[in-house]
């Protein structure tokens, strides 16, 4: 440790003779604000008070993120103009030290393995290519060829080699102490939302708590920082060519409501009320949403592919609710994972399933698939398939929906693969054609019983 401190001092004195640097544990960060986006990216704004000489000076900025995207650095402040910015990452390592010593003379101290006697010689470094070739006196040798202990003492540290990547900015100033804002982007900081949803089946309500999980892998601590979370990924847009993510299917219909939450363009902002420390390799959780007793409904969904015929198969359990101001959660939901819990007979919450949700506008109706239902099953049978003519087929389907629960269940039964021009000739209950490809029946199954739905399709296939 002492050696490193010493090298650091040496470096500071070599690289920046004009700037005195104190080697302390204190961070050089000033008033730091960290704005964290969803896609592992953050904007760091660091207000540092600089004592500037009049005219041009070169300022170094230590304690920036170890993963700083140097090309995004900006320094702004009253009466300062930027001449140039440099980011240097020629790091001081033993190999670099030796490489830069080529052509120079170093001191070797050899220790006799048996007697411990030390002999000092001066050696000229001739080359460092996979082994160090030296000239000692009149002969040529390879350093530590015989594996015996040899200490190499360098007279000096070469200039322009640094202990850490260094950001320096040359600027023009009127002089004096000025507050400056250093801002840059860095990966390694990210956040996501986690939702804890407690479903009360008797009351058909949910309690939802939203938690923000914030992670710092940027290699740097941010002390006493203002933290602002942005629900959005600032470079996820792919224009009109394609979009970044496939919809999760959790939004049944997208809402059009807005509230007074702070915004940044099209993104929502979640500021933390108090300053906090974000240490490197730390994960932090804070709460951002707390809604109790919002109405919710549990339904079952089953989708059958074209000509699908199967043994009794579990339907999906789906929790439906709204994010609207009236009768819903009344807020936007940043993307994250929603975990659903229910209380058991003793009143203890138990986990019943989870689902990824995408960023959801306020006023949307949502459905969360929590898992497969044990007691609600659908058996599908192709009862008849007849070729009517060279271009038409007749297909008769039977769907047996069984409910082994002691209460009634609603099952949304869907048949897909209708390829646009498939007609329904006959059906046992009225259906809804949700799209050209898909038809849906809402089947109410009483407690501990079953309901059979039949349909006859006229198709080209």
């Amino acid at each position: 440790m002492r050696l490193f401190g010493f090298v650091g001092l040496l470096l500071a004195s070599v690289a920046t003779p004009a700037i005195s640097q104190s080697v302390t544990d204190e961070s050089a960060q000033g008033d730091v604000s960290v704005t964290i986006y969803n896609n592992n990216q953050a904007l760091v704004q660091d207000v540092r008070s600089l004592n500037l000489p009049k005219g041009r000076s070169k300022q170094q900025f230590p304690d920036v993120s170890a993963q700083i995207r140097a090309e995004t650095v900006t320094l702004a402040g009253p009466d300062i103009g930027i001449v140039e910015q440099n980011f240097d990452f020629d790091l001081l390592t033993p190999a670099k030290l030796m490489e830069k010593a080529v052509g120079q003379t170093v001191t070797l101290i050899r220790t006799n393995p048996a007697t411990g006697a030390e002999t000092r010689v001066r050696a000229e470094i001739l080359a460092a290519n996979g082994g160090v070739v030296m000239k000692i006196g009149d002969t040529i040798e390879v350093l530590r060829d015989d594996g015996l202990p040899v200490r190499v003492i360098f007279d000096r540290v070469p200039p322009n080699l640094r202990a850490r990547p260094t950001l320096s900015i040359t600027l023009e100033s009127a002089g004096g102490r000025v507050p400056t804002t250093l801002s840059y982007l860095t990966p390694g900081l990210g956040w996501k939302a986690d939702y804890v949803t407690l479903f009360d089946e008797a009351k058909q309500t949910i309690d939802v708590q939203g938690w923000v999980t914030l992670t710092n892998n940027s290699g740097t601590d941010y002390r006493n920082a203002n933290i602002l979370l942005v629900a959005g990924s600032p470079n996820s847009g792919r224009g009109r060519n394609s979009y970044a993510q496939w919809p999760t299917g959790t939004i049944d219909s997208a809402g059009t409501e807005s509230n007074d939450r702070e915004r940044l363009g099209d993104y929502y902002l979640y500021p933390l009320a108090e300053r906090t420390n974000v240490a490197n390799a730390q994960q932090k959780q804070v709460s951002f949403l707390d809604v109790t007793a919002a109405p919710a409904q549990k339904v079952y969904e089953f989708t059958n592919g074209w000509l699908g015929s199967s043994e009794a198969t579990s339907a999906s359990s789906v929790l439906k609710f709204s994010t609207s101001r009236s009768g819903g959660l009344g807020d936007q939901l940043p993307s994250g994972v929603m975990r659903v819990y229910m209380r058991d007979k003793r009143g203890d919450p138990q986990f019943i399933g989870e689902s990824q949700i995408e960023a959801t506008p306020m006023g949307s109706s949502m459905s969360i698939r929590t898992g497969e239902a044990f007691d609600v099953k659908v058996k599908t049978v192709v009862e008849e398939r007849i070729r009517r003519s060279s271009s038409r087929w007749r297909t008769k389907m039977r769907y047996e929906v069984t409910n082994a629960r002691p209460e009634a269940a609603t099952v949304d039964l869907a048949q897909t693969g209708l390829w646009g021009d498939v007609r329904i000739e006959q059906e046992s209950q009225t259906s809804e054609r949700v799209s050209a490809d898909k038809v849906e029946w809402r089947v109410n199954v009483p407690a501990n019983s079953s309901v059979t739905v039949t349909a006859t399709f006229d198709s080209r296939y």
């Binding site: 995004t72 240097d88 009149d138 600032p234 997208a254 807005s258 940044l264 009320a273 506008p361 646009g420």
Partner: protein, 526 residues
């Protein structure tokens, strides 16, 4: 065999070999006095970032050096040139009688190179007794090496180097003349008299790259007013080599000069000495593989017990504005701005002052400062990419690179960081890529996705020859947004709201705040 008999022969051979070389005098040119460096972008890099370790672009480096030439033949060796130099591109001017020969030597001085040079020659070997500390030196003769190990002959017979378990060190009498510490460029030239010559060395070198880095700061505007932004750009230059160029004239070239594929440079010879001996590894020397260390497991879901109202330790997220002292501007003020000039069909940016391009460093100088650029914010989508599940729409900033819009300067390719104002000062709203844009080109930058402005496209009905589609845009923002949805299929009939933009049927619609817009259209089937 008598070892000493070889010495005489050896000395004779050495003298013969050194003969023709001795007539040339070696002149080493250390540091250049004046450097100009012009940096070209990596061809075909597109919107990928610069590779900081070894940038894929190149540079034209012009150096002025002063040397003292002796009378007669001389070999001039240039030191401190970029390690990425393409030797075939080097041009040396300013010599009294021109260049006779130009060589790049990559036979490196290294443990391996030494053995190679001393093959069939005599060296000394020193062995140290670990118990007594006494070392013994003897002269030996290298019989074979350096591939796979070194065999030498001593008075006792033949032995393999370092297969003994004893500390062994070889000593060489003289530095082989044709090995160099680094790959070097040297020229052969002749001068009748001793002169001081100022020569110019020009060459292309790899390991450089540059790009523009734009900062677009969106200005506050009233409803109905033309929206404006301030555009600023850095010229970002990267040097991946180990050479610094001090006090250099720096330029950057935008545009794509043609470059042909080039074979790899001659590999430098040399390196560490690889010695393979008879088996001597023990089980304790077999490296221990700790196996795959799995990542930290995901956090357990917070227990629902936290549902209780006691929240003493929680930090609630509430809207609290930051201090007003926070920054008010996102773009910096530049004291030095690179000047642009035309170079044939290319654009040249010249940094007006001398700068230092550091080894393994990245450097930024301002290159474009254009305040008050008019732009439009448009939401764009392609109907084919959407389904009946609503999905977010991307939005772009669109402008025209002309005087009326406040631009009208060549815009070289680079990343655009868009800053937008919020209650907490300007924050990053998005990052997009800009290709090279000439004057009068349309400029579009994709900023991000809006989870509030969404599109769903559903096929409602289909017949043999027609598809009936319904597109629905929902807007959860409290003000109107302009959306352009492209339909790449052939549309049947004329539909209100759809017009052709650049040959593509486009539904251009302004969706009021907190509202929806619906379009029904029919597509012809082939």
């Amino acid at each position: 065999m008598n070892v000493s008999r070889f010495f005489a022969l050896l000395a004779l051979l050495l003298a013969l070999q050194a003969g023709p070389l001795a007539a040339q005098q070696l002149v080493v040119s250390g540091q250049p006095e004046n450097i100009s460096i012009t940096i070209y972008r990596a061809p075909g890099r597109g919107d990928r970032p610069i590779d900081a370790n070894w940038p894929q672009g190149y540079a034209l480096i012009t150096e002025t050096r002063t040397i003292s030439l002796p009378a007669g033949d001389a070999m001039v060796r240039f030191e401190g040139v970029s390690e990425g130099m393409f030797p075939e591109s080097a041009i040396v001017t300013g010599l009294p009688n021109g260049v006779r020969e130009k060589n790049r030597d990559a036979r490196l001085l290294s443990p391996r190179g030494l053995i190679d040079a001393y093959l069939k020659r005599e060296v000394s070997i020193t062995r140290t007794n670990k118990a007594t500390g006494v070392s013994r030196t003897q002269n030996v003769f290298i019989t074979a090496g350096p591939d796979g190990g070194v065999i030498f002959e001593s008075d006792e017979g033949f032995e393999a180097l370092r297969c003994t378990g004893l500390p062994e060190r070889m000593t060489f009498a003289k530095l082989p003349a044709d090995l160099s510490a680094k790959p070097t460029l040297s020229i052969l030239t002749t001068s009748r008299t001793a002169v001081t010559a100022t020569l110019t060395l020009t060459y292309l070198a790899s390991g450089f790259d540059w790009q523009a880095n734009y900062v677009a700061t969106i200005k506050e505007s009233e409803a109905g007013e033309q929206t404006k932004l301030d555009l600023f750009a850095w010229l970002t230059v990267a040097n991946g080599g180990n050479q610094s160029f001090e006090n250099a004239n720096m330029m950057a070239i935008a545009g794509e000069p043609n470059r042909e594929r080039r074979g790899d440079q001659l590999r430098p010879t040399g390196g560490a000495l690889q010695i393979r001996c008879w088996p001597m590894q023990r089980t304790d020397q077999v490296p221990y593989n700790p196996g795959y260390l799995s990542a930290i497991p995901p956090p357990p879901p917070p227990a629902p017990m936290a549902m209780s109202s006691d929240a003493a330790e929680e930090i609630m997220v509430t809207a609290q504005r930051r201090n007003g002292a926070m920054m008010d501007m996102a773009s910096p003020v530049a004291a030095v701005v690179a000047e642009q000039e035309d170079l044939g069909d290319l654009k040249l940016y010249r940094v007006p002052e001398r700068v230092t391009v550091n080894a393994k460093g990245q450097k930024q100088v301002a290159m474009i400062v254009q305040p008050d650029v008019s732009y439009d914010r448009i939401y764009v989508a392609n109907a084919r990419d959407y389904s009946e599940d609503s999905a977010p729409i991307s939005y772009i900033l669109r402008s025209k690179n002309d005087r009326q819009s406040g631009l009208g300067v060549p815009l070289p390719a680079g990343k655009v960081a868009v800053f937008e104002n919020s209650a907490f000062g300007p924050l990053l709203a998005g990052e997009g890529d800009l290709p090279d844009r000439a004057i009068d080109n349309e400029v579009e930058v994709v900023v991000g996705q809006s989870s509030d402005v969404r599109l769903s496209v559903t096929e409602v009905r289909r017949t043999k020859s027609r598809q009936y589609w319904r597109a629905k845009i929902s807007n959860a923002r409290d003000h109107p947004v302009t959306v352009e949805m492209e339909i790449l299929d052939e549309i049947s009939g004329r539909i209100k709201g759809i017009s052709k933009i650049d040959g593509v049927s486009t539904w251009r619609v302004t969706v009021p705040g907190n509202d929806e817009a619906i379009l029904d259209y029919t597509v012809k089937m082939r």
